[in-house]
């Protein structure tokens, strides 16, 4: 076991999978010599050469569009979009093509590819560098949408994503890249996509979060335990789509209350789908309305106001207490 931060853990997954399978390529802007602006692809260029670690012209649509062609041909590209805010210039390639080739060709061709993108606020970045847009991808049939919460899940989920025969959108929270180190197994590890994890067992309330919001939820849970004598169950969603409804419903059937936390804007966000799924499966167990703590429904606010916008422990605590005393 080695202690790694999330950047190193992701780099390890890329290295392992590229060593395992010569069809796996890394493609994007600055992923080669520079090793990616966050250094996630560091050193891969030296080990695998510029034909497998491709520094492309600055063009998101072609990075994804050419990767679709590579995947149809039989290669397995791992694309890096430098920031998720720039992915709208290739959104059509993801939605119109990567997500659909399997169905369009009735299984004759498919797109085994991963699109990695840094996302999320709280790191004092420029406009278009801080948004959380997972809801767009989660809404597209044919895609999988994955968000790890730390080094170990990042390594294990990226490994699974690269091996997955369907296209996977893989969000990496910038705030987590260097946030903490975690033990990562020496042997390559793949976690199943589509399964949530119970980050903390508990009762009376389920907190549901993912990505950087998991830490916020866990911190809120600690305070609730200390100040309110309630130990909430905390779920780390990990996969946004397909959603692990079974784990969510089983937890809320046990606890009777749920608060969902995400950084995406509130309306039509993942929290709405999660709440609806809980209502479908555990309506009669609910002791209180499901609450959602999310970003406000405004375009991302710039870093002078991001503390007020990105959900924090205080907002989660307030929602949790309202739910507990309903």
């Amino acid at each position: 076991m080695a202690k790694l931060n999330m950047v190193k853990a992701l780099n390890l997954a890329l290295l392992e999978e590229m060593e395992r399978d010569p069809d796996v390529l890394t493609i994007g802007e600055d992923v080669g010599v520079d090793g990616g602006v966050f250094r996630v692809t560091e050193d891969l260029h030296r080990r695998f050469g510029s034909r497998r670690v491709i520094d492309t012209p600055l063009a998101e649509a072609a990075i994804i569009g050419c990767s679709v062609g590579m995947a149809i041909y039989g290669l397995k590209p791992i694309c890096e979009i430098q920031f998720s805010g720039f992915a709208f210039q290739c959104f059509h390639q993801i939605e119109n093509h990567a997500a659909r080739y399997r169905q369009r060709t009735q299984g004759r061709f498919h797109c085994q590819m991963v699109v990695r993108m840094p996302y999320g606020g709280g790191v004092r970045a420029l406009e278009h560098h801080s948004e959380s847009e997972e809801q767009f991808y989660a809404h597209i049939p044919g895609l999988k949408m994955v968000i790890p919460s730390g080094p170990r899940t990042a390594r294990a989920l990226l490994t699974a994503a690269i091996r997955d025969p369907d296209p996977v959108i893989f969000f990496e929270h910038k705030g987590l890249y260097h946030a903490a180190k975690e033990e990562v197994p020496d042997e390559s590890e793949a976690m199943p996509i589509g399964r949530a994890q119970i980050a903390q067992e508990g009762s009376r309330l389920t907190l549901i979060a993912y990505g950087a919001m998991l830490r916020v939820a866990l911190e809120a849970a600690e305070t609730l335990q200390a100040e309110d004598g309630v130990t909430p169950e905390v779920i780390d969603l990990l996969t946004i789509s397909p959603l692990d409804r079974e784990t969510l419903v089983a937890s809320v059937a046990k606890t009777g209350r749920a608060v969902v936390v995400h950084e995406a804007p509130l309306s039509f966000g993942p929290g709405a789908e999660i709440a609806a799924s809980i209502m479908d499966g555990a309506f009669l167990s609910l002791e209180a309305p499901i609450r959602r703590v999310a970003a406000y429904d405004v375009p991302f606010v710039g870093f002078a106001r991001e503390k007020a916008s990105v959900p924090d422990v205080a907002r989660v605590l307030a929602a949790a207490r309202e739910t507990l005393t309903f």
Binding site: G69, M70, I72, P165, P242
Partner: protein, 382 residues
């Protein structure tokens, strides 16, 4: 510091071998066997006759909207003819003639325009992508495939089709730019048919030619008479050979004309004149090539009748297809059906199996017990 001239200085070549008046440049005439010439003509006639049949099928409501090819047969057949089965074709949405040549069965193409995804499914050995509806978005796919070919060192090339309108899209630029930088074996085949729905080429680009855009990407571009199948063939063969030899991409602009509608959903009389259409009808690629073959005594008797019979059989096979199974929609969304789709599929299966075929399972047999706390209806009480 003086002002000096730097590259590019290259003018754009325009290639024409057989014109609409029947003049032939024998020095440029490709050395094609009698058999090849007959195959070229046959494929062009099949494209034309099926197109005409499809238009009637659409007007009768037997298929839906499609994009006719009438007038563009030479551009499509002259180019696709230069490929081997192991090469790749990445079409846009107006390549019926090319697709027929590549082995797409008539009934498959008809089924696509009858609204079935099955019509987009290439055969197991076919290295063809299906019709792409968004404009220019297929071009990067062609470049990606070409990258794969280069990566594995395979002997194959990619030919991708698009129209003049596509050259205004960002994806055209990005695909050409990547292809130039990567130096991959791809041929960009533009069918400049003068109109992108109602917008004429003059409003589409201020470039003198589309071919010249290639210069900016660092590879050759050539303009050809797109209604001259010999010229299209010659230029395509050169481009394909160049790609196969590892000499990178080529852009070919076929100057042609869409004699019919953009799709069966529009009315071109609103935006273009009869005179213009008539002038282009004089340049019809079929009559020109037919005259050429006649002089060589290569016209086969009863060819049209044979082709019509082939089309009749294809339409029969199309109409004999069983109704699309609604449950088929779940089959290829993912490699493995995720749990929520298993549930959605089961819901639909139950609905389809219901008596009268009209929806919910009967109340006498609820699929799940009433929820806790819910007041039971009298019918459930026993």
């Amino acid at each position: 510091m003086p002002r000096t001239l730097i590259e590019p200085q290259s003018p754009i070549e325009r290639l024409s071998i057989l014109d609409s008046e029947g003049n032939l440049d024998t020095a440029l005439e490709p050395k094609l066997s009698a058999d090849d010439l007959k195959r070229l003509y046959r494929a062009m006639v099949l494209g034309r006759r099926l197109d005409e049949r499809m238009l009637r099928l659409q007007r009768q409501g037997r298929i839906g909207t499609f994009a006719p090819i009438k007038g563009q047969e030479a551009s499509q057949i002259g180019s696709v003819f230069t490929l081997k089965p192991t090469d790749w074709v990445v079409p846009s949405f107006r390549e019926t003639a090319s697709m027929l040549w590549r082995g797409w069965p008539i009934e498959t193409l008809l089924s696509l325009y009858a609204g079935r995804l099955e019509g987009s499914s290439p055969g197991p050995e076919q290295r063809d992508l299906p019709v792409t509806i968004p404009v220019a978005t297929q071009l990067p796919h062609a470049v990606g495939i070409a990258y794969g070919i280069q990566y594995r060192g395979e002997d194959a090339v990619v030919m991708t089709y698009f129209g003049d309108g596509a050259t205004s899209e960002g994806d055209f630029h990005e695909a050409c730019n990547f292809a130039g930088v990567w130096h991959v074996p791809v041929v960009f085949l533009c069918q400049n048919n003068q109109w992108a729905i109602s917008v004429p080429i003059k409003k589409q680009t201020n470039s003198r030619t589309i071919a010249q855009k290639a210069i900016a990407y660092g590879f050759p571009g050539i303009q050809v008479d797109g209604n001259d199948v010999l010229a299209v063939y010659a230029a395509s063969r050169e481009a394909v050979e160049r790609a196969r030899a590892g000499e990178g991409p080529t852009l070919i602009e076929c100057v042609t004309y869409r004699l019919g509608v953009h799709t069966t959903a529009d009315d071109p009389t609103k935006y273009r004149t009869d005179e213009e259409v008539k002038a282009w009808e004089q340049k019809d690629p079929l009559t020109r090539f037919r005259a050429y073959l006649e002089k060589k005594n290569l016209l086969e008797p009863a060819l049209e009748e044979q082709i019509d019979e082939e089309i009749v059989r294809g339409v029969e096979r199309f109409e004999a297809m069983p109704q699309a199974d609604p449950l088929g929609m779940f089959e290829h969304a993912y490699a493995e059906l995720p749990p929520h789709l298993v549930a959605e599929r089961a819901e639909m299966a139950a609905r389809l199996a219901a008596p009268e075929g009209n929806g919910a399972p009967t109340e006498a047999e609820p699929t799940s017990p009433p929820m806790r706390g819910q007041r039971r209806t009298s019918r459930w009480q026993n």
